[in-house]
Amino acid sequence: MTVSASLRKDLLEQIPNLRAFAHSLCGNGDEADDLVQETLMRAWANIASFREGTNLRAWLFTILRNAFYSSRRRRRNETSDYDGQAADRLVVLPSQDRHMDLEDFRKALARLPEEQREALILIGASGFSYEEAAGICGCATGTVKSRVSRARRRLAELLSMEEGGDFGPSSAAETVGEPAVTGDLAVHLRK
């Protein structure tokens, strides 16, 4: 099945976001990239069902999420402690020069129930609306809202932020800017 050049370009642009979402779901770099590959394969196989001009990102995120949960179910049948293993992997990500802040945050995020974690990521990082996130997760908008709010509350507890007020000197995280288009991407888009 041939995919038009403009759609291929759009797919390429989505890779960084798909990888970030995959990371947040499985926490393991290699597994995340396998998941993105599986997502792109499924998207390719079903490209006829995608209407150009509609929300490609939401479509891809839905595919990725489904692929994640189906592989998850398969594995769960193979090993009984898959949850525990996944949580461990999330915690032991390779990190040499990461800020402690980010490392602590990663660990806390890993401890959230999956449904809360994905809702929080979709809303707080991927930039989807509650309606779009509800479509991706196959649940009601109100459910997404309450999951996000429970996720934030739980993170605040885990990171001992719930007291409010004094966080010490402002952190370097404040300088985090817009995600830049990476060199690789820019080069390929021009091809």
Binding site: V3, A125, R152
Partner: protein, 60 residues
């Protein structure tokens, strides 16, 4: 006055709203975590996979 209990409010009753400063801080860290992956270089095999979608393989 707000009671400063962080324990035992996971029951039915509606919890106090999260401090906006806390919420903002969580949001910042969340985006830092996410963008850390977004800004990584794309793996070549994923780029290659998309390039294969032009159907060139079929014509060979």
């Amino acid at each position: 006055m707000k009671k400063a209990t962080s324990h035992g409010d996971r029951g039915r009753s509606k919890p106090n709203p999260l401090d906006p400063k806390v919420q903002e801080r969580i949001g910042r860290q969340l985006r830092a975590y996410y963008d850390d992956v977004v800004n990584q270089p794309m793996p070549q095999h994923l780029i290659d996979l998309i390039e294969q979608m032009d159907g060139a393989e079929d014509k060979k």
